[in-house]
Subunit: 460 residues, 2 copies
Amino acid sequence: MSGAVLCPRTDGSFAARLALSAAADDGSWISTADFPAWLEGRRRAHHFKVERIPFAGLDGWSFTEDTGNLVHRTGRFFSVEGLSVTVGEGPFRHWEQPIIRQPEVGILGLLAKEFDGVLHFLMQAKMEPGNRNLLQLSPTVQATRSNYTKVHRGAGVKYLEYFTDPVRGRVAFDVLQSEHGSWFYRKTNRNMLVEALDEVPHDDDFCWLTLGQIAELLRRDNVVNMDSRTVIACFPTGGAARGALLPDAAVQSWVTVERSRHDVAADLVPLAGIKGWERDEFALARPDGRFFQVVAVSVEAGNREVTGWSQPLLEPTGPAVAAFLVRRIGGVPHLLVSARAEAGFLDTIELGPTVQCDPANWRGVPPPPFLDTVLAAGPERVLYEALHSEEGGRFLHAEIRYLFVEADETQAPLAPPPGFQWVTPGQLADLAGHAHYVNVQARTLLACLTSGAARLDALA
Amino acid sequence: MSGAVLCPRTDGSFAARLALSAAADDGSWISTADFPAWLEGRRRAHHFKVERIPFAGLDGWSFTEDTGNLVHRTGRFFSVEGLSVTVGEGPFRHWEQPIIRQPEVGILGLLAKEFDGVLHFLMQAKMEPGNRNLLQLSPTVQATRSNYTKVHRGAGVKYLEYFTDPVRGRVAFDVLQSEHGSWFYRKTNRNMLVEALDEVPHDDDFCWLTLGQIAELLRRDNVVNMDSRTVIACFPTGGAARGALLPDAAVQSWVTVERSRHDVAADLVPLAGIKGWERDEFALARPDGRFFQVVAVSVEAGNREVTGWSQPLLEPTGPAVAAFLVRRIGGVPHLLVSARAEAGFLDTIELGPTVQCDPANWRGVPPPPFLDTVLAAGPERVLYEALHSEEGGRFLHAEIRYLFVEADETQAPLAPPPGFQWVTPGQLADLAGHAHYVNVQARTLLACLTSGAARLDALA
């Protein structure tokens, strides 16, 4: 028998400490009122410039002779390849498309520390070429494996050691999460929260914010980047114990049934010659202009690991819409989740918002369920609305209008159509504690609830 | 606001009801002492015969002209294809092998009902051609999608409606679980437990047993089949709240790191011409006799959905060994789990037993960690030992010797080598509540703990 000291399996106090931080509208490091000036200061401190260039102007990137895939000469970073998709239902049953392949698992890491008894989070003012406004708030560390193995020979990633060397802090969570299944082939990143145990060195591009301050910034357009949002979505908030329309086992069973019943065949194919796409000097696109195009940009930056580079980006149409219909059921707010079969998912389906699409792509075909209900909602039904950018390192101006929209029985019945189910925010948050359950758009909306940016108290 | 009645998210009493059933050494339907005679009666009631035949004698199965894959003429059931595998570590870095591909998700369903206040489980005396003794105890329903969509035009699967039509019972769990990653390409089945709400019709090939009775049968060789074991492993036993060496977040983080750090490239390739394998009239095998061979059998059966058929089976060397090293740490029993990168897994690694291999396959290469410790254990260290068959519908005489072996600090240190970690049975059981965490061999061992077949109380 060993005399080793045991730990409690879960840290029961952490949810309460997160709630305290969410209630803190102002922080010890910077006041929320001063934040815009700080961010503007970081913008002025560096030189950023992004320009569209022809594919021929890319440095280190080229279309290979055999497959036509768009790859980097090192074979690292990512590649743009072809995907041939066949699904069993919906208006689009078979198609081919470009897709980003990036098999390495990166780290999205947020560092936490208590100041004056309140948890603060170390956010970075980070330029990504595809971001609206270029500079947004990223988590402390946003590192591909290429980043930290130094493939691009730049400077090291600041604070990375807190996430790779466990003795620097206490890991609150560390969970794989998928990213956009329509644009990435089976991409996952580690989403991590680490509480620093000692003094953390200062850096000018970083600031400590409470969860309440982050919530306020999440109410503004294009300030908090996608990587921050997905990490916050995983915060262990403890969930509500007040019951739900369906017990957890029934939710799990519904996920299992949805996962089993969808047939999705998605095979990587050579990018050259995929049907329905045409390439000119500047873009690989569909003649009908739908969905997205692949383009190239050159980047000049003063505070990135390297000071200049060029790269491909995926530029979607848009802005798209991602919305949860919400209802108070038996006194408890519920979200209407959808089981989404996106071609790039590892495991068939993940749970997404009620509605997730660019309405412009659905001209001439029957719209997805509930889209009209979301688009027609008057302001009295809109509990939250903001425009956020998706991953600015891979997507150009990929903006989504995120909403929570109140619905009633006529708009969103308690017995929803196939592929939809009512869950509480606590049930969704618990599923986000494991990989492959909650898609990245639903995680942005979940982060709005977790932080308090969106509040469901006002529900009738 | 809807007045719908909410459910508690989890049924707190179910774990206690399972514990009561596990404590019941005898049942209301049949006494454990009479069970062997009942099973023998079922054996006598039916005619079963399995014979090896040449591939040319297979009815409906053939090697296709283009790929050489072994397929059924309907394109259903399963196929034997080639897999080309490259991994980043270990003595075997690259190989090719046959693999079973069965993309449809089946149902392994166990029906529960209370008799005299104690939960009983409806077990089936079921013949599978690859089983030792042919007849073993399966769960109530064991159905591929081909079964229940009637591809083979046989009789319907008994009791299937309890698992496909939720109003017949209450779903206690319904979770996808992987099967053998070295023999199946990304195979998953739904593992389900349903509690019947009304009278359940009787059938001669089925019997109701308490969990305590099943535990006693799990102590015997080759009685409880793999499908039963994997379902029992998912029983929500509630776990122990007494703490663990690592908090749950640290276990999750370790899984995430292991999942991220392994590079496994596994691509389906034509079966014809895979390197290292040779096919004669009766077998597709390696000249060195290692790992497994693919063979063909003809089957005559009186109580299956169809009365006769022929099919390929995968016949491994063996028996193999699957063992957990166990220690009492801080007063609480812990299991040493390994992160296993099996080529057929969907998501890189799953948690397996400390040791899982056929020692005969490791002649001439350094043995896997802890194999010698398991093989050298005297009887005073062996807390559980039994021989069980793996899936008899796909594997021929695939037997594994399952063990729990007590270890000490010199044999299994608290700081284990990379790829190993200490978890409590409760932590492992909670992970088994989600897909892709716990492999099928570890689930057999977990079922032994859940049922009480193996007891860790005796640990020093």
